[in-house]
């Protein structure tokens, strides 16, 4: 059967996009494209295909760009969600230099997306919800007034409910927080334990901003005395206390009594951790821990035992009289009777530590009890629309970025295989700096213009303050592929006297690191390394407290050399 609906159009467009003669002649090229867009006899599949092809087109001028956008405007009103989303993606990509156009498009696509979210087809609804989440990452307030559309109904399948809870968690703001929390509280007593737990975690997520209300709801939930609820609430409390120290008091008051309703490993660990770290504020903390010590023989999870050792030792430091006896018993048990090597080693370690002296123990164990800055590092801050525009209307938001990264890694490994050496692909694809420029920069460090001072340690706080107060002096992208070990990088940076302030764990996406260095004149260099999973490049932003271009250049070239070396070692 021949092509019926979209044959001419697609053929023409394909021809135009492939034919070098047409490509060379800008005017002709443009005409072809405009003719194609104007073709009216396209069915929805043809339209989707045309939109897909147009993604490859780069308008030459601003005028032409807006010309195309105007021509395509009717596609945004199409009744087919596939076409609307295709058009949205094209708009987002074409208008990448015009944030207001992008925002405008996202406002217009709100209606169709919301309609799809309440569509009768569960599958469509799910995909739309995934895209809503994607948009919310960049524009947190975008759907806030439509929060009611994301309330779950009991007849929906599990995977939709989970997505909706995530969306609710992300669009919460001052006006709707009350209603959203009330709705979420209803989910916490749902028949499905999984869904109830997801709702509780969601409340925990909202608690980072609206602490008091959420802690109150969570405390009420403890009153239900149900295992699957209590354990999740306690885990939420643990995370919350770490990030929002102001709620410690309320949490400590809520904790007594919930040990009876916790049976699983995660919940026990969380409870024991809380008792250990904040034991001085919980009157019966030693007695609860004593119960755990009594029953340690029948405890099945080694992780709980490890947590118990640490917690008891911590509590011993603040309330020695009540804990001394049982700490002795626990250590004895762990060293003499325990079969699990890790637990025994931990016991031995603490025992030896205690032999050294109590001051030493205090110095080692009394780490900070909360760290609000962790939230900043963990939280993916508002991402620019451009970072996901090319993923819009693809499978990426549906799988989630992290999952997609692993999928494409597997595929990449299989497809490219070993026959393509990695270095060669840089040469073609990476946005490299011009050749001459590079050489000049590489010579600079030899000339001795820059001397970085060794052992210049900045505190994290000072770094953060300075970082926020300065403007980005230089930004650059280096090609980067695959996995690596952060320790290697840290070591290499150490060699050239660049200190690492903070660094994400290996394998996290996006991976970030903050570096600092100072030269002999006292000029500070603060650097952020950002590794986006899908871009295969590392973004470097450098800030400088004194504006001096030469030293900046040489600092960057040092950094480049280090990263280049790591890259070589890897491949």
């Amino acid at each position: 059967m021949p092509y019926l609906g979209s044959e001419d159009v697609v053929k023409e467009l394909k021809k135009a996009l492939c034919n070098p003669h047409i490509q060379a002649d800008r005017l002709r090229y443009r005409n072809v494209i405009q003719r194609v867009i104007r073709m009216s006899k396209l069915d929805q599949w043809g339209q989707a295909e045309v939109l897909n092809f147009l993604l490859r087109y780069q308008p030459r001028s601003e005028e032409e760009l807006f010309d195309i956008l105007n021509l395509l405007d009717s596609f945004l009103k199409s009744s087919s969600p596939g076409v609307v989303m295709g058009a949205t993606k094209l708009f987002l990509i074409l208008a990448k230099k015009f944030p207001h156009v992008q925002t405008d498009v996202l406002v217009r696509v709100k209606g169709p997306l919301l309609a799809a979210c309440s569509s009768e087809s569960r599958e469509l609804c799910f995909v739309a919800l995934c895209h809503v989440r994607q948009i919310l990452h960049s524009l947190p307030g975008h759907f806030s007034s439509h929060y009611k559309k994301f309330f779950c109904s009991y007849s929906e399948p599990h995977y939709i409910k989970l997505q909706k809870v995530e969306v609710l968690c992300e669009l919460v703001n001052d006006e709707n927080v009350q209603q959203v929390l009330e709705e979420l509280r209803g989910y916490c007593t749902d028949v499905s334990a999984d869904f109830a737990q997801a709702a509780i975690f969601a409340i925990g997520g909202i608690a980072r901003t609206y602490t008091d209300q959420c802690v109150q709801i969570l405390t009420e939930l403890l009153g239900l005395r149900q295992e699957h609820i209590t354990t999740v609430v306690v885990q939420t409390f643990r995370d919350l206390v770490w990030l929002c120290p102001q709620c410690t008091e309320a949490v400590c008051q809520a904790l007594p009594g919930c040990e009876e309703n916790i049976q699983d490993s995660e919940g026990k660990q969380a409870l024991i951790w809380l008792l250990g770290v904040h034991g001085e504020r919980i009157p019966n903390a030693p007695y609860v821990l004593e119960d755990f010590v009594e029953n340690v023989k029948s405890e099945t999870f080694p992780a709980v035992k490890m947590e118990l050792l640490t917690a008891l030792l911590r509590l011993f430091l603040s309330r020695p009289a009540e804990c001394q006896d049982m700490l002795g018993r626990l250590l004895y048990y762990c060293i003499e009777e325990e079969k699990d090597m890790a637990v025994r080693d931990r016991g031995l370690f603490y025992y030896r530590l205690l032999l050294v002296g109590i001051d030493e123990v205090k110095r080692i164990l009394c780490s900070p009890k909360s760290d609000p800055t962790l939230g900043l590092l963990e939280d993916p801050a508002e991402r620019p629309v451009n970072s996901w525009a090319s993923d819009f209307n693809t499978l990426v938001p549906v799988y989630g970025k992290a999952h997609w990264a692993t999928i494409s890694k597997c595929q990449g490994a299989e497809r490219c295989g070993p026959e393509l050496p990695k270095t060669s692909s840089f040469a073609v694809s990476g946005p490299l700096i011009p050749e001459d420029n590079k050489e000049r920069e590489q010579e600079l460090p030899d000339s001795g213009a820059l001397m970085l001072v060794p052992n210049r340690q900045l505190t994290a706080d000072y770094f953060e303050k300075t970082w926020l107060s300065l403007k980005v002096a230089h930004q650059q992208v280096l090609p980067w592929r695959g996995e690596f070990h952060p320790d290697t990088l840290q070591m290499a940076l150490q060699v050239v006297n660049i200190q690492t302030i903070a660094m994400s764990r290996a394998g996290t996406r996006p991976w970030k690191a903050y570096l600092s260095a100072q030269d002999d004149t006292g000029c500070l260099f603060l650097t952020e390394l950002l590794l986006e999973p899908e871009n295969s490049e590392m973004q470097i932003s450098v800030k400088q407290n004194e504006a001096r271009t030469e030293t900046l250049n040489s600092f960057i070239s040092v950094l480049e050399t280090v990263i280049g070396t790591i890259e070589e070692i890897k491949s």
């Binding site: 929805q44 109904s153 009991y154 989970l162």
Partner: protein
Amino acid sequence: MISQFFILSSKGDPLIYKDFRGDSGGRDVAELFYRKLTGLPGDESPVVMVTTGGRRHHDGRHFIHIRHSSLYLVVTTSENVSPFSLLELLSRLATLLGDYCGSLGEGTISRNVALVYELLDEVLDYGYVQTTSTEMLRNFIQTEAVVSKPFSLFDLSSVGLFGAETQQSKVAPSSAASRPVLSSRSDQSQKNEVFLDVVERLSVLIASNGSLLKVDVQGEIRLKSFLPSGSEMRIGLTEEFCVGKSELRGYGPGIRVDEVSFHSSVNLDEFESHRILRLQPPQGELTVMRYQLSDDLPSPLPFRLFPSVQWDRGSGRTTLEPKPRPVSLNVRLHLPLPRGVVSLSQELSSPEQKAELAEGALRWDLPRVQGGSQLSGLFQMDVPGSPGPPSHGLSTSAPPLGLGPASLSFELPRHTCSGLQVRFLRLAFRPCGNANPHKWVRHLSHSDAYVIRI
């Protein structure tokens, strides 16, 4: 690009399997899909799945499926395609198969395997969509649908007692619309029929104090036409129908919807002035118009429920008084109960009704409720185990947290919540000797989620 398309029965048996690109590992992909689907951990979504590990030639294949009338329609692809388009294609295919086979189901598919393959051949070529228009495809499809005619008493009853015309002949059976579009050319008894449905889905959330928290109406006008194609048709909607918040029409409060979208074949020339939709529908099913309405409903809610709860030291009485305005069918009331309810006694408004306890929830089914009637149900339950100590902030007279919210599901025939009605359906079609075409218009609302907090 679609690599494969297959249809599985609800038990996972492959009914249809088609490979478009020959880049896949063969039929066992269907089996792999079903195994993956059933073995999926609870927190992952089954809509889009990927194969990793295992056999190499299956790696990185994405399964995208929809569930339609207990069948799985699945496509596989190895590229990063638009999920919206693929899902749309799948649901379009489902409609198309329904059009050609009469209805979509395990039985009809297995009876019409040849027809389905023929259709797939025409719709997709090398994994690319050619056309999905019923009209175009008619020219290429040769096979006729095999329809099994179930024995029905309806045929007998329509004869009528003593030759008198009964009420029955004025009502079409609900299965009348499920017949294939492409009936045999020799069949002279082919009827010219048009079915027009206005269907609304209603989701409502009512707070415990009776105030309305959320109303959401999703409406559709669906058309199934068996007329020869090219015949023009005019659908007149209620004149007071207005779109958007600002518009005002007529004298009354008007029928207001927030957003409307039309099928691309609808001609809107007369819509502005007279609210008339003109279209030349192809044979088969078509969604003419979709609309949404949220937050302010012009008419009062179709269903009220007056819950009251008295709770005292572990035992409680819950009274529910559902009160529908219009006639409602298949009403089901669902009330989750706190864990550990031991005894439950009920007192319902009429003795033949019955509420039962299932999966930690109360279920009260009412097949038919008269409009305007008032029902009542009184449930007494005991929850053993002492309530939490006072330090937990729970007073003993408050109901436990596991109770509620109550949800209702129901159907309202001949009622639309937005108030939208089809005024007329006119055909510009000249019947050539044959009788006038039959026109069936139906209005229906049903609940999507109707939740009342307690």
